[in-house]
Amino acid sequence: MSDMKNKKLTPTQQEYKTFAKSREPKRPAFKNSIKAFIAGGLICTFGQFLTWVYMTFFDFTETTASNPTVATLIIITVLLTGFGVFDHIAQWAGAGTAVPVTGFANALASAAIEHRTEGFVLGSGGNMFKLAGPVIVYGVFSAFIVGIIAVVLKGLGGM
């Protein structure tokens, strides 16, 4: 895909692009991955702890306990986002906070909070899904395709 982009550039531009890339400080991918692993792992472990709490002290089963677990993580994320702390944690953790449901909640909360200056309907309401929209759209659409394929295959298998 990046080759296609390069084809539209003149030789001088391509040369500069390669040159600029070589002078670009590389993203510390390895270090970031370690941090993401630790942060993501900790968040999921905390989620497991919450599941255990909800199963032990409340009336939840293994399957239904994921609901209050996710809701709790979401509430904590919204609070951290509101207090201006989440983005600092995320700068360190990278995918460690973005990939768990905390990333989804932060996307919604940060957009809603930022755009309240444009009012609660068009601002917070209208912009809430600015960042999280793609996840929902692609999640639903892929579930739809997978669902159709699975049902059709099952139907064919049944014949």
Binding site: Y16, N32, D87
Partner: protein, 334 residues
């Protein structure tokens, strides 16, 4: 004749910067040139209801202070030239509404400071105005909201990212009086080397800076040693290094002691600003505060400020366009 070479103006009637002002926010207050700011705010809201309103207030304050320091009233100023990064340059337009001076809106992205100064000096030099005010502003919150992500969003910024300055600068150019003189300006062409990463503006803008510097030296038949200091607007640490190499490749000698960048000057290495400062306010506050002070003190005699701008929009990036850039150079002498 004012036109020299292909794209340079030489101001033979000696327009003077009779008053200048730099206003900044909390990050700028912790930087190494905080003492050169006329006004520094402790928080980025400035008591306003939105980041956009706060940015407008920054610009209004810078304009008022610059006019005040020039010893005149705002009714005396003939024209107000201003630009910023907001959609439809609302910071400038709304500040112009408050200030009430006949208004020319500009867009040069982060090169707006020098674009404004070049045009203001031209108006004064050609007797189209006795007093012309050039201003510009930027605000970290409003720029991140418009171009990238909400400020509380947890996206991890790479080492090439820059920190948009929350600040405004203004310069009152007059046909007579005492103060640093604007001596020449080179208007840049738009240069696009096909880079498209909005988190690496320095890399995208460096070619434009080099192109304008080259044109400036060619049109005036001088070299870098003509100046005590040459400062680019906001190439940042990454773009600055690239510019040095690019200048060498183009056969332009640029002594390291005189070549610097406002984005590197404005913040210290300890501040979490990745590759350095950016935004219209960066070159404006550093030039109209720190650099002009050094000229006034006699520390510097001749400087060239090459403000660089990345002319993308959030939409152009989504449509897979690359980033076209421009750089405008203005020379100022004590």
């Amino acid at each position: 004749m004012v036109l020299r070479g292909h794209q340079t103006w030489v101001y033979d009637a000696n327009p003077v910067i009779a008053g200048s002002a730099a206003v900044g926010g909390p990050f700028e207050a912790q930087g190494p040139v905080a003492a050169d700011f006329d006004l520094l705010h402790g928080d980025i809201w400035l008591g306003e209801k939105s980041f956009e309103k706060a940015e407008k207030k920054l610009l209004e304050q810078a304009c008022e202070i610059a006019i005040d320091k020039a010893g005149i009233k705002k009714e005396d100023v003939h024209f107000f030239l201003s630009g910023d990064l907001m959609n439809q340059i609302i910071s400038s337009s709304f500040a112009a509404r408050t200030i009430g001076i006949p208004y020319l809106g500009l867009f040069g992205a982060c090169s707006s400071a020098m674009e404004g100064l070049a045009l203001a000096a031209l108006l004064v030099n050609c007797q189209a105005a006795r007093y012309a005010l050039a201003g510009t502003s930027s605000h970290n919150g409003s720029v991140e909201k418009q171009f990238r992500y909400p400020t509380e969003y947890g996206a991890q910024k790479p080492p090439t990212a820059q920190w948009t300055t929350t600040g405004a600068g203004a310069a009152l150019v007059a046909s007579e009086g005492s103060g640093p003189r604007v001596t020449s300006a080179t208007i840049g062409r738009v240069v696009d080397m096909g880079l498209s990463d909005p988190y690496n503006m320095g890399g995208a803008m460096a070619p434009a800076a080099v192109d304008t510097i080259e044109a400036h030296f060619r049109d005036l038949n001088i070299d870098a040693r003509h100046y005590d200091l040459i400062a680019t607007g906001d190439l940042g640490r990454v773009g600055h290094e690239i510019a040095i190499d690019l200048l060498r490749k183009h056969g332009i000698e640029m002594p390291k002691e005189i070549f610097t960048d406002c984005g590197i000057i404005i913040y210290s290495e300890k501040q979490p600003v990745f590759a350095g400062g950016s935004g219209c306010g960066c070159s404006a506050t550093v030039t109209y505060g720190h650099l002009l002070n050094r000229l006034r003190k006699g520390d510097l005699k001749r400087i060239l400020v090459v403000a660089t701008g990345a002319l993308l929009s959030p939409l152009s990036y989504q449509q897979r366009e690359s980033i076209p850039c421009v750089a405008h150079a203005v020379s100022i002498e004590a």
